[in-house]
């Protein structure tokens, strides 16, 4: 792929003269991503976020096979008078390190771990959907300009002005319990991915459109065109690969937003269908049933899970942005 020359010489990388006079060592050309990776590795805060993300992903993938069944009732661990777990801190014990859920006595560790799978799955899938649509629409709008740009820009405006929360509540209520060959929780997950992802693309689209506007006048694009490359080739082989940085950065920052939105939908009762565990639903339960006062751990634990996840993605995303574009620091 062609690389615009000036990007390689940001303040974070070695200046050309220094590099020349430093030694006789052969001068290696470094790609944009190599430079970014070097910068990122030095950013301890971002790397901490990254490590947490990796751990979370591992937990989400293998965790559910290691923990107890999240739907097993332990009514013997519940004090029926207050419907809260017996013992301090929400019934934390060796068998139940995160305690148990009020009313049901279901193991909180299992529910948090299985909940992580759904939170991350929806966060990633919805982001992927938004990125794919946003990148394609943005690059088309920016490259072709004119009436195509106008139409796509208005489309973005419409999507941004859409009362998404109301639409999500209505859509989840209207869609039957089985559709598109899916049913139950699987259908709901697909639905949530669609609702969240399909309405998040305009943010992505605008950024990509702006990037495209500045890149399309560059020499490497002119060069490709003068060699006879046509629209699609320029778009997908020349322009998009040069926008991997901003796309990656923005996607990383979009993931926590989507996870939070999923939690909000759970909170409103239109998210994951119980008894499938979900973080947002646990929070909602703690609030609507008033457990925050009699069993605060039931609110604190899923709250911490959401907090840590969002924090990790935001730190990593910020670091990634700085690495790709130090001037925005």
């Amino acid at each position: 792929m062609a690389v615009p020359i000036d990007v390689a010489s940001g303040p974070g990388g070695p200046a050309p003269e220094e590099a020349l006079s430093a030694s006789d060592k052969a001068i290696e050309g470094r790609s944009l991503s190599q430079i970014a990776w070097r910068r990122l590795r030095k950013d301890k805060v971002a790397m901490t976020g990254g490590v947490i993300i990796v751990i979370l992903i591992v937990i989400a993938i293998v965790g559910p096979y290691l923990v107890a069944n999240p739907n097993t009732y332990h009514s013997e661990l519940i004090d029926p008078t207050y419907s809260r777990p017996i013992g301090p801190f929400g019934g934390i014990s060796l068998n139940h390190p995160f305690g148990v859920e009020p009313i049901t006595g279901r193991d909180m560790l299992a529910r948090i771990v299985v909940g992580a799978r759904y939170s991350l799955l929806i966060g990633f899938a919805a982001t992927a959907l938004a990125v794919v649509i946003g990148a394609i629409m943005g690059v088309i709008a920016g490259y072709f300009g004119g009436w195509i740009d106008s139409i796509i820009a208005r489309l973005m405006d419409i999507f941004l002005a859409f009362p998404l929360l109301v639409f999500a509540i209505a859509l989840v209520g209207v869609i039957p319990s089985s559709a598109f060959g899916l049913s139950g929780s699987n259908l709901r997950v697909v639905l949530l991915v669609f609702v969240i992802g399909f309405f998040a693309w305009p943010y992505m689209g605008r950024i990509i459109r702006g990037q495209t506007l500045s890149l399309r006048e560059r020499e490497f694009v002119d060069a490709a065109r003068s060699l006879g490359a046509r629209g699609p080739y320029v778009l997908f082989r020349e322009l998009l690969p040069n926008m991997v940085g901003p796309i990656l950065v923005y996607a990383t920052l979009l993931i926590p937003t989507n996870i939070l939105f999923e939690a909000a939908l759970d909170f409103l009762g239109v998210g994951i269908i119980p008894p499938t565990p979900s973080w947002g639903y646990m929070l909602s339960d703690a609030v609507t049933q008033g457990f925050y006062s009699v069993d605060p751990m039931y609110m604190i634990i899923p709250g911490l899970a959401i907090f840590i996840t969002i924090m990790a993605f935001n730190l990593f995303g910020d670091g990634l942005r700085d690495a790709f574009d130090p001037r925005s620091r």
């Binding site: 739907n71 097993t72 029926p80 008078t81 009313i103 049913s183 119980p274 049933q289 008033g290 009699v294």
Partner: protein
Amino acid sequence: MRRKTGMLAAVGVVITLAAAACSSSSTTTGGGGGNTNTPAFNAGVTGVVNSSTKKGGTVTFDNSSAPDSTDAGGTYYAFNLNFTRLYATPLTTYKSCGGSCGQQVVPALATSLGTATNNNKTWTFHLKSGVKFEDGSPVTSSDVKYAVERTFDRTVLPNGPSYFASLLAGNASTYPGPFKDRAKNLMGLTSVTTPDPTTIVFQLKQPFGDFNYVVAFPQSAPVPPAKDKGTNYQLHPLSTGPYMFQSYQLNKQYTLVPNPQWNPSWDPQVKQLPSKIIVNLNVNANDIDNRLLAGDIQVDQAGSGVQAAARARILSNPTLKSNSDNPVNGFMWFYYINTKVAPLNNVHCRMAVEYAVNKTEMQTAYGGPYGGNIASTAIPPTVIGYSKFDMYNALTKPGGDTAAAKQQLQMCGQPSGFNVNIAYRSDRPREVSSSQALQASLATVGIKATLKGYTAANYYGNFAGVPNYVHSHNLGLLAGGWGPDWPDAYGWGWALFDGGSIVPAGNTNIAELNDPAVNNLFLQLEAATTDSDRVSISEQIDKKVMADAVMLPAVYSKALLYRPPNLTNVYVQTYYGMYDYSALGMK
């Protein structure tokens, strides 16, 4: 036709209602059983706490929302049926006492209960003489007729019960109400006649033995046609009771002061003790509890019990606990078992569900032992004709009777279980919890249940109450709750269990039970004349419905109520399931 309750957080302890009933059998007007001045837990259920005739003081009520209407003609909330007694006097009302005594309907504006002639189709009431509105003008039978007429206009009074429209003969099915029909001096309803100023006669289109209960709704309280302002009449309804409106800031606060015209002989069931009654609306529910426990207010108007935080405070503090009551409040939570959805169309499969369920887990979901007692019958203990029985071992094996359930599955021809869907209201946390508990315990006998959540607002209108939808979506088990419009088996169960009550939308017989034996028992109940007949028929209905296994009883709901120590004459009126608001006074 179901009495609405503001069911937020009902909570409670195991008490025997029978004890309450016995202790209150010797009551005189305006009291429960034993009077007590030493506070004790449930003292307000078994008797009257701080019995007193002292006048004066201000009683303040808080409400986390607002009444559906302060107009007596347009309200259906249990707490407001209770509260309107302070300013509206219906023809009949419920006796001011606890236990089974409080289930009795007694005359209020009428001199005696209505007399039925023409095979229970003609009901005649005579009004007490000398009753006046707060402005001093006399109450006549045409004011009562007008009050009944105006309830026909659902655009002006959308929320009240609609029994008059469905029961009355003549032009009742087409009568638009006096706001639209201005002819005939506003007296256009042909099936209600007023032969003289103290007599009113109701002509029904079919025999109906429970009409005295129907006119116990405050809809029969007189309204003077000249003073009716339609929707705005609720801002200052003309009082015939001990209190009258002083001010009303909509959705914020209303204040009642003693009605100078009122005479205790008009309605011996209500009292005039405080010198002022204030109702604050739209107060945060947890704030209400804090103000109640701090003594800033005296009553939570909704009467459905304190929230989880206050519940923990009250139950863990002996002093607070001794100032609280935990009555069975007349409401019941249960699951309908549909008789048309396969394989539940086989009674043995339905029985398998009845046996398999872990009732303790269900009870915990509905708030634990302070939220309700485990239910084993189709008629709750607050209804006349209740008898305790335990057909499916709900009380003896509350953890579920797996062996019996498996046996029933064999007899049903589904030895390894079957698939079924559970419908519930996803915006009601307790139903979400109970449905998950139901799902978990059904799984232990191989019945694989899938949860289907719906919004409460459309639950009866579009989903559970539409038989076609129920069939096409295989909704075999459907969550429900019910409070009786009046406390007998007819008022409780006709809409739930009679084959004639099945309708294509807004259906309440969601199990779609159409058992000729049950239908016949309801016919007998309509025509029954003696109380002992009515009780024995009610018991038969209860047992037959449970034998048909169309209702999976969960809990008889209970509320944890707090009574500040300075409140007097505090006791739980059985029909309303909360403190009697028309008896309260201040120390």
